[in-house]
């Protein structure tokens, strides 16, 4: 196992790939798409070197289903892709969710709709958090904001996937995937989860196990979905994660996730230096969304300003969480690198003027 306690300059996509290896990922299936290709390229060398599986699938549709197959045997496995190609995986994602099997999907978002371009974007919040597959299911979603967090949350993604036998998304974007930043690659810090009571490995000395989602009786189908949501309730109780900065005494509370949150953080600091009472609330788990926590912080605020690199997607969860406790405004652009802290500070000042 790689043990490097020292800081190294790492590209976001490489950080994910290295963390996946440290986390014990045994199988990777993927199909090329910018801006996440470094993950597959890196693993195409490093996985076989460790006797593990790297397979370039013929399509994203195949990749997600290979993941379904490998995950059904209890093997730690992942795929990575981007936006329009994650769209192709939605069917398989719904199956993995319904099947209660652990799998990690990395989504490095780019700009859409449709082909769009490879610029960073947060336009696939809905795609990931609300899901595009059929039926009632949820995808646990972790949104890192730094290269270090790419490592931290890749580890956590593998752990939570195994712990809850569920599909976990690591939701990054082209900015985080392509940038380099110093980071510490430490050992996988979580316990290993025993899969032997459900995984498929041949019915030796026990009855056969079936992993599937077709249920011909409405009672059984309903029971299965209710069980799934019982699990989701436990995840909601245990796994909500968020960060705040100057959130307590702020008059304006910014909400932002992922790469935009780090830009918003700088804007908040600049605002404080200018004597403006601005704070930040950054959800890290996008599902489960920190509803109660945001409600608590939003109560008594003059304004909640939601900032996203899209046209307002997390905004809906923010509004629902705030539940009318404060006014909610939105500032966003659909794609590109183009947010600067100064630009956000201008918007904050403009909003403050509007409050007077």
């Amino acid at each position: 196992m790689t043990k490097t306690a020292e800081k190294v300059l790492l590209k976001g996509n490489h950080a994910i790939a290295k963390a996946a290896i440290n986390a014990g990922c045994q199988c990777y299936f993927g199909y090329p798409i910018t801006p996440q290709n470094e993950i597959g390229e890196f693993l195409s060398v490093e996985m076989p070197a460790r006797g593990r599986v790297f397979l370039q699938a013929e399509s994203e549709v195949a990749a997600i289903n290979m993941l379904l197959g490998a995950a059904s045997t209890g093997t730690k496995a992942m795929t990575s892709s981007s936006s329009l190609a994650i769209a192709l995986m939605q069917e398989g994602i719904s199956y993995i969710a319904a099947d209660n099997i652990p799998a990690v999907v990395v989504s490095v978002m780019r700009a859409g709709p449709a082909l769009g371009y490879i610029f960073p974007s947060q336009g696939d919040y809905f795609q990931t958090v609300k899901g595009g597959g059929n039926g009632d299911y949820k995808t646990l979603t972790l949104a890192p904001a730094t290269v270090q967090e790419m490592i931290d949350y890749t580890y956590k993604a593998f752990y939570l996937a195994q712990k809850y036998r569920t599909i976990v998304f690591l939701l990054a974007d082209g900015l985080l995937g392509q940038m380099m930043e110093p980071a510490v690659l430490y050992d996988y810090p979580y316990e290993e989860i025993d899969n032997s009571d459900w995984a498929l490995d041949g019915a030796k000395g026990r009855p056969g196990r079936w992993i599937g989602s077709i249920h011909r009786s409405e009672e059984v189908l309903e029971k299965k979905v209710l069980e799934l949501f019982k699990k989701y309730d436990i995840i909601k109780q245990n796994e909500i994660e968020y960060k705040t900065l100057y959130a307590e005494d702020a008059e304006i509370l910014i909400t932002a996730f992922g790469s935009v949150a780090r830009i918003a953080q700088a804007a908040v600091k600049q605002a404080r230096e200018a004597g403006l009472k601005v704070g930040l609330f950054r959800p890290i788990t996008l599902w489960p969304f920190p509803e109660k926590e945001l409600y608590k912080f939003a109560t008594g605020k003059k304004l909640i300003l939601d900032i996203e690199m899209n046209m307002g997607q997390m905004l809906e969860d923010v509004k629902m969480s705030v539940s009318g406790q404060a006014k909610v405004e939105f500032y966003g652009r659909p794609a590109g690198f183009y947010f600067t802290p100064e630009e956000l500070l201008e918007e904050i000042k403009k909003q403050m003027e509007g409050l007077k």
Binding site: N65, L67, G69
Partner: protein, 249 residues
Amino acid sequence: METLVFQKPSSIQKDCNVTFCPGCDHGVAIRIIAELLDELNLVEKTIVVSSIGCSVFLNDYYNLDIIEAPHGRALAVATGVKRSKPDKFVFTYQGDGDFASIGLGESMHGLSRGEKVTAICINNTNYGMTGGQMAPTTIIGQKTTTTINGRDPNLQGYPIKICEMASICDGAAFVARCSLDSSKEIENTKKMIKKAFESQINNQGASLIEILSTCPTNWKLSPQEAHKRIREELYPVFPLGIYKDKTSK
């Protein structure tokens, strides 16, 4: 003293109720596969990939480890299973729509990669479960619920020849088409599946067995007439035989 010469294979569920339509050949295919798992001592290391269509309910019949693949994706799921557990025995059980229409990409790539899995494709020239619509294998002139005047090549194109296509995949070790229309062909089908299974056991590559099979309900024929149709109408379009055999080399 009597000797038992036929019994249900060990991997068939104890109180198995076959829910296919009367006279449908699916049940025969399922049973002979189970017999081979016993004969080749594979039961305890088998992981089955089921598919969408009438084949989706395999867990009603097999007391085996089974993973259900989304429509058409069985070869991709099987790839994931086998790559993660190379010491297991993996086969898919699919219909012709699943294998050769929606799943043609996954099927051909799985075979070309030479995945060490066996694909069993039941070809009954229509979509049975959804009510008998046109399938990739529906033959010219065949009436289905979406080709009510018969398949017209000018409108719906020509049927897909599964084994012919599969045989050009370099990764395929054994490819054969067989039929369940008679006792003799049932015996032969079992032999072909055995060869395919052995090619997987010997790590020789991917294998595919296409089985011509009846759909009496949607063909609107008696089981007996349905078998006759296989011989008279399907044999000329889909000739039986071994299309690829790298196992002896």
